[in-house]
Amino acid sequence: MRNVAIISVGYNDRFVAKRPDVNIPEMIQPAVANALKKTKMKHSDIGVVVEGNMPTFEGINYPHLWFSDHIGAAGKPVLRISTGGTTGMSVFHGGYYCVASGMFDVAMVIGWEKHDEGDAQVGLMGIVLPEAFSLFQFGPDMSGGRGGGMGLLGGGGSTGGASFQALSYLAKAKGTPEHIDKMAAQARANAAKNPYAHLQHPNCTAADIAKTPMVSYPLRYGHTCPASCGACVMLLVAEEKVKKFADTDRVAWVKAVATASSDGTTGNLVDGQITDPAEQAICEKIAAPKAYKLAGIQNPKKEIQMCEVYDGFAHQELMWPEKLHLVDNSCKAIDEGRLAIDGEMPVNPSGGVVSTNAIGASAMVRVAEASLQVMGLAEGGHQVPRRVKNAVAHGWGGLFQFVTITILGDEPVKR
């Protein structure tokens, strides 16, 4: 099996709420240029382009056809992948397999979203729209008995399902909503050390977060991600070509990729079953162990120096490191300062998704940020002080039912 390295990361610019000055192709193009700039590669060296975003969010079908020329894809093989919130990492995995398969030596991967050209909440409601409409037709079961009627309506938009997940997580972890305040504050403060992050709040405190309005208990406005515009591009190269193309001594090696899916969290209308979104066996019991095994990592707590997890809501930044076997109890860990940039297990030094969320990019940005940490190239003060030998990047998506994991290291796995 072929080893694959990430040799550069490019963002178009800082992620922001609105970019009225550019259209989608114009927004993405600088990210491609910025990624290429940091290598010894020419655009013609790129063998294949793998791209993705949330298909309906900007109202453009197969957008990769439109920006074909802006990213220099005309005349090249192009593959489009989309998996909800995990899109960015699924796209990265697609690029990884293009190279790992032996079919290509160089892959360019692109994850992006331009939320100012759509409405993210409407887009997300589109996941359950047919079910919601049939409820309105037949009448929801207000008794909340066998039917899942009220539960489903409460699931509208991701905050509904997320608040259920947050409460379930806090009960399991014996944590409180104040722990979520602390985590969100750390995230926004970390983001202030990342020049590309959207919501930057230097020295943000839990008290600042606790002042924000409640959206759906226990989740506050301050716990919730923004809708951002931006693009992330990464260049992946086969082991034999790294010396030729990389412009840095330290590249980030892909040690393992893994993914798993389960059923959607809102359950079904007839039996009222609901898969607890705070359980995440697909991560804890399936994808994470598989990834560590492929990467040859036996003791993640000792061998992994940092992680970037997909936290659309701040409680997820507490939950996922536990599901990834990196932290026993994140509520305790954050009380003890262990999750900070200079802590024992830095979580989301970039500020995470809760500070920057261009959905199609977000899961790829987790890999990008983890790779920057391995390469020692994170700017603005969010580079973790310890040398990062191994890092974990994680994404989730769908109705809390998809999970993707990438493990990076400063050395390739010996095969």
Binding site: M1, N23, G52, M54, P55, T56, G59, I60, N61, Y62, H64, L65, W66, F67, S68, D69, A73, A74, G75, K76, P77, V78, L79, R80, I81, S82, T83, G84, S90, H93, G94, Y97, C98, A100, S101, G102, M103, G123, L124, M125, G126, I127, L129, P130, A258, T259, A260, S261, S262, D263, G264, A281, I282, I286, L294, G397, G398, L399, Q401, F402
Partner: protein
């Protein structure tokens, strides 16, 4: 390629204007029936690659409710948002990496019952200049392409109609087809409703509800699962520039490049002689001679000769779309996967009444998306 990948089994639904089942049961029945044929369970599938479209399904992340129905509960899944031939390509690359031994490709669309596809395809257009103009859509783009070809090759309207007749008659020999007309004539085609001249309804694909599933396997696994593996000998894919006016719609650059890459991988230098049968995603029949030329199956500008001499008939020297192609049934994104299944069926001698007689050794299958096929995938398959 050190590792070899084979197609070990596949199943298609009968295509219809409205499937009797919703998409969940439709795909469940299909996957179950494939597993029964192969005597496997979902435990034997290492990864699932889905091909579906949020725009076509009318919901966001449309695969998210389908996971348990296709057997992927608690398993490894990804989704390709393009023609389903791209999903086969991705599944193949996953197996080639050595990380997986088997991959199930699943694709569905309710293209017949749920919406008018040319309108949905308009969402592909540049929203700033082209969409508001309402001039360009997949029909007018194909019509421009057809006119360009007819001007260049001198293909007549009668000859263009005869390609449609071929596919309608082939459809009558395909038990799964939606549109079939055993005694179709050029007159029927020329009398059908005009879409955008020279293209008429009977030149166009027939939107359908349907699904297709296919299991790919590594060499070792393939030999355990079937006596008749169909080997993927070569694959190529390529995307053209976007604006129609900047493309040569007859030359089909991206298709030429994709075919070249596939032939190179398969070690083929003379496709016109070596390829025994081709299943092409020709959403409009005008694309048959255009694509066949771009892929080196027939000489340049020989569309007229091919039509009048019947080269592309089932009994001809280079049978194209013996299944009836997209004119027989086209559930949109499922298209490319169906072409691969049909081509495989020809190689296995299992195509029944639409079987090409001269037992082909190599087959070509093609998938595409975009106005006038901007993005193309070409597979070379062998037995």
């Amino acid at each position: 390629m050190d590792r070899k990948v084979a197609i070990v089994g596949y199943k298609q639904t009968k295509y219809s204007e409205q499937n009797e089942n919703p998409r969940e049961r439709m795909t469940y029945e299909l996957v179950k029936s494939l597993f029964q044929d192969l005597k496997i369970t979902r435990d034997d599938v290492d990864t699932f690659i889905i091909s579906c479209s949020d725009f076509q399904d009318g919901r966001t992340i449309s695969e998210c409710y389908m996971i348990p129905w296709i057997g992927a509960y608690m398993k490894d899944v990804s989704k390709v948002d393009s023609d389903s031939a791209n999903a086969v390509l991705y599944a193949m690359m996953r197996i080639l990496s050595g990380n997986y031994n088997t991959a199930l490709v699943v694709s569905w669309a309710m293209g017949g019952s749920e919406f008018r596809s040319p309108r949905v395809m308009e969402y592909e257009l540049d929203p700033i200049y082209e969409r508001p103009g309402r001039l360009i859509n997949e029909i007018t783009a194909a019509a421009l392409q057809a006119q360009a070809y007819m001007a260049k090759s001198k293909l007549t309207e009668e000859q263009l109609a005869s390609i449609a007749v071929k596919n309608l008659r082939n459809g009558a020999r395909n038990s799964l087809a939606l549109r079939k007309k055993a005694n179709a004539t050029e007159k029927d085609v020329l009398a059908s409703r005009a879409l955008s001249l020279p293209l008429r309804e009977l030149h166009a694909y027939t939107p359908a509800d349907g699904a297709c599933v296919m299991l790919l396997a590594s060499e070792e696994k393939a030999k355990e699962l079937t006596k008749n593996p169909v080997w993927i000998k070569g694959v190529g894919f390529c995307q053209d520039t976007y604006y129609l006016g900047e493309r040569d719609l007859v030359k089909m650059d991206s298709l030429q490049k994709a075919a070249k890459a596939a032939y190179k991988m398969a070690g083929i230098t003379d496709p016109a002689r070596k390829i025994g049968v081709a299943e092409l995603s020709t959403t409009y029949v005008s694309q048959e001679p255009i694509f066949a030329e771009a892929m080196g199956l027939i000489p340049k500008n020989s569309g007229p000769a091919a039509a009048s001499k019947g080269w592309m008939e089932i009994e001809g020297k280079i049978p194209v779309n013996p299944s009836g192609g997209p004119q027989a049934a086209n559930p949109l994104t499922v298209g490319g996967l169906i072409r691969i299944a049909e081509a495989s069926s020809q190689l296995r001698g299992e195509a029944g009444e639409h079987q090409v007689k001269k037992a082909p050794k190599l087959a070509l299958a093609h998938g595409q998306i975009g106005m006038a096929a901007q993005h193309n995938v070409v597979f070379v398959l062998g037995n």
